[in-house]
């Protein structure tokens, strides 16, 4: 029996969108992310975003592409309420980022998972502790933490390395720990800001496949990347940014193209 084929079999995606069952949004508004005429000016006067509008529905996988400085990271920061828009409206998972009370920032972030190019792990904690940390800060019951941590570490394929410190792990493994940490609170949305930027090709493929599996489980994934090879090899929705403006949205533009023919 072909060992590789067996693994493939295990990866058969869940075709039924679980998010339909777990949704906490009103049925009248299927969008988990709504960017409406969003502007973002930095204190030095530079415009990071100009009139950006897009909506993301439940279960979607969205690529955010563009050169560095095009506004991808700004969109990410608005999504997890690290920054607030200067104009327009940003709604994420039912929260209005433009008028978020300070208390609501942590609440919003517990519904999101965020991963970065530089992993952002705590160097003096093991993989296990890094993941558990995200659960502990939410005040989760201590006796359930270990089991939940093991479950997500298994999900990202790192159960055997749970006691390793970040410096003992490869880049791909570190990003998997970060993904496990992002998943521990069962987020509705996973935000990935250049998640493969520091990884070699093999690790990139592994991490990307993991993100696809997560999306197949019903989680919305928004992935900022400038790796066009990744973008081309799939049929996921793509939003392209240039100089702070949204210049291409495969959803909108392709629908328009179909209509015009």
């Amino acid at each position: 029996m072909n060992h590789f084929g067996f693994c493939k079999f295990l990866r058969v995606p869940l075709t039924f969108p679980l998010s339909l069952l777990t949704s906490h949004l009103s049925p009248y508004n299927p969008h988990v992310i709504r960017f409406t005429n969003v502007y973002k000016a930095y204190p030095n006067g530079a415009m990071a975003l100009k009139d950006v509008t897009f909506h993301v529905s439940k279960g979607e996988f969205v690529f955010l592409t563009g050169h560095s400085g095009a506004g991808k990271s700004t969109i990410m920061k608005l999504l997890f309420a690290e920054q607030q828009p200067s104009g327009g409206e940003v709604r994420v998972s039912g929260y209005n980022v433009s008028s978020l009370r300070p208390d609501d920032v942590p609440r919003l972030r517990r519904r999101l998972g965020v991963i970065f190019q530089d992993f952002r792990l705590l160097e003096d904690r093991t993989a296990e502790e890094n993941v558990a940390f995200a659960l502990e800060v939410t005040g989760a019951r201590t006796d359930t933490i270990a089991a939940r941590v093991m479950r997500v570490l298994t999900q990202v394929g790192l159960s055997a390395r749970s006691r390793a410190y970040p410096r003992e792990l490869s880049g791909g493994e570190q990003q998997r720990v970060a993904i496990a940490r992002a998943l521990i609170n069962d987020p509705a949305i996973l935000l990935a800001d250049e998640p493969t930027g520091n990884l070699d090709e093999r690790a990139t493929r592994g991490v990307f496949q993991l993100l696809r599996d997560i999306n197949n489980g019903g989680t919305v994934v928004v992935m900022a990347t400038h790796d066009l090879d990744l973008v081309r090899q799939t049929v996921y929705r793509t939003i392209e940014m240039r100089d702070g403006s949204l210049v291409y949205d495969s959803d909108v533009d392709e629908a328009a193209a179909v209509q015009s023919t």
Partner: protein
Amino acid sequence: MKLLTREALLSFRRAPLLSVLSVTTIAFSLFTVGLFGLVAINLREALKGLEERVEIVAYIFRGTPSETIAIATQDIAAFPEVRDVSYVSEEEALRRARAELVEFRDAYRDLQVNPLPASIEVHLKEGYGDAATVGRVAERLKGFGFIDDVRFGREWIQKLDQLRNLTAVVGLVIGLAFAAVAVVIIGVTIRLTILQRAREISIMRLVGATNWFIRGPFLLEGALKGLLGGLLSLVLCYAGYLLFRDNSGGTLSGLIFFGAQHMILIIVFGILLGLGGSMVSVGRHLRHV
């Protein structure tokens, strides 16, 4: 709560040098304040000894009936400021004079008539030895019809007053100055700790920790450092106290150390310093990120 304690203790292990720095800073600041405190309480103790010797003597007109004096003595003993009252009869006064004034012993022995008046000696309670109170009691004594004259060491009581006020003011000013310096230094060391852990804080925020959750371990850490600093400062103060007492060749053998209340006060002060310093630093950091 367990998590909170664990995180706070973890910070000691992770940044031992900074922790030691903060603790010794708090300890030395409190040590300086404590030394002044020691000087102040010992001065006060010495002044108290002087105060006990404050005495008001009221001379009585010759021929006053002893019943009148007895009633008056009871009245005076009932004054709120008065600790004890004693009646010194004419004969008693003469006996004392003979015993104390050796040079005049012969003169007194040959007297046919006793020239010394009877008197009432009044001692005041602790804490009423200041010039104003003594003067007020003296005035009140003069109000009795049979009192001829009232004497008390007005001038040296006023000097005592000045000395007491001076030590209180100087002690307070210097103590406050050192406390202020301590707060600033503690704030800076805790700020260093926080900057060192800025990355960790940003990750905590990222995964949805509330500000109070982030603050908790830092506040506990600050309080713990304050507690350790307070204890260490007491040890230092005690060492300094022993050093002074034993090397003074006996002149300072009566020195006293802090009572339990003062020690608790110093430790509580240390904890508040640590808490205050970390509160300010964390607050600033959380606002700026």
